[in-house]
Symmetry: C2
Subunit: 193 residues, 2 copies
DNA sequence: CTATATTTGAAACGTTCATTTCATTCATTA
DNA sequence: TAATGAATGAAATGAACGTTTCAAATATAG
């Protein structure tokens, strides 16, 4: 039997996604990835194929850990109003923790590569669909509970919330005043109540 | 007397900003700029200094032509409600015209470089301040006209509109359904009415 | 212990990067 | 028309790029 890999794939992806997050895809060199992951150049190519494939895996890793965090946070809330607040609270915490103004990796990626790499584009389209579905579900529940506005459809409000989350995340890069951001979130959420 | 420059600086900046918009800063090579501007490599360095300085000038050019377009559009409207609608309409037209999913150069730039280049960051902070001031002015007028909501301050609503514009622009990259985007804009604007 | 299959390290691959150099071309004006 | 000085073209700079190569090291199973 051969020698087995000594590194944890998840740890490598975590470190790789941190570098991509910090510097962007085009701004990250293979040397950056070697340095940050601690892996040998050859090992990266053996295990991940290419810089682009490693990026795609790092993207998926980032997405799934974000999803896990999101689901964990949502579990605690049993009405739609609290649930949607928790979603925005999670984004707010990301913003406040993002002292070096990196923004969201997925949003950055959309800016940088949606028009360049077909694989990245379809990944992002998929991500968008799933996020919209999640939001629509929350809104739908809220409307059933009679706590959310019913003048527009759940899917209309889902798109509104999706755009608002992206706007909040982008705004938060250069505007990290917690109180003003909280006010902003309240303003956003007024529409659906 | 020496020979004078035969190229138009504005035309060069327009072409350069188009390439940067298409490929991003890190994704654009000096060769791309030579090809697209038609200028000689040496002439670019003589006239603009470096790739980064050219980028900063292209950014300023993009911003000022956007502003010019915005001002021209706003001139036609004499009440706050129509004015703010015109602002969003301009963004919508940008989105619908953006078939190759480039997004907004300024937003992309914030994603790619706000955390990397101090000059870019301060440019963007400046841009953000000016945009917020413009929006606050519109909202303030609308509140004076008694057509806008007064439960929150003009600056609160300005931040809300600023975030909404960025969210709309980001969402529009992968979601170009005009009818749904118009519904989204209506939803956004309901808050201030 | 030996054979096996893979990870690893280090060097090298050819290409492309941003930038510089410099002789030549060109439009101006004295 | 001759002197001027910027614009130009083409080549060269060295560094950095993503990727490949391959011998050496390594851990497992027989």
């Amino acid at each position: 039997m051969p020698k087995e890999a000594t590194f944890s794939r998840k740890e490598v992806l975590q470190k790789a996604s941190a570098v991509f997050h910090q510097k962007g895809y085009n701004g990250t060199s293979m040397q950056d990835l070697v340095d940050s992951t601690g892996l040998n150049r050859s090992s990266i190519y053996n295990s991940f194929g290419s810089k682009l494939q490693l990026f795609l895996e790092a993207l998926a890793f980032y997405q799934s850990s974000n999803n896990a965090r999101m689901n964990k946070s949502l579990l605690g809330h049993h009405n739609a109003s609290d649930t949607i607040k928790a979603v925005f609270e999670l984004y707010l915490q990301d913003i406040l923790a993002d002292k070096d103004k990196k923004g969201c990796l997925l949003v950055n990626c959309k800016s940088e590569m949606a028009n360049q790499e077909a694989n990245v584009q379809s990944f992002l389209e998929n991500n968008q669909e799933r996020t919209l579905a999640m939001l629509e579900d929350i809104v739908y529940n809220g409307q059933m509970e009679r706590v959310f506005n019913e003048t527009q459809s759940a899917s209309d409000y889902a798109l509104y919330l999706y755009a608002s989350l992206q706007g909040l995340r982008m705004t938060g890069i250069l505007h990290q005043n917690e109180q003003q951001l909280r006010t902003l979130i309240n303003t956003i959420l007024k529409v659906i109540h």
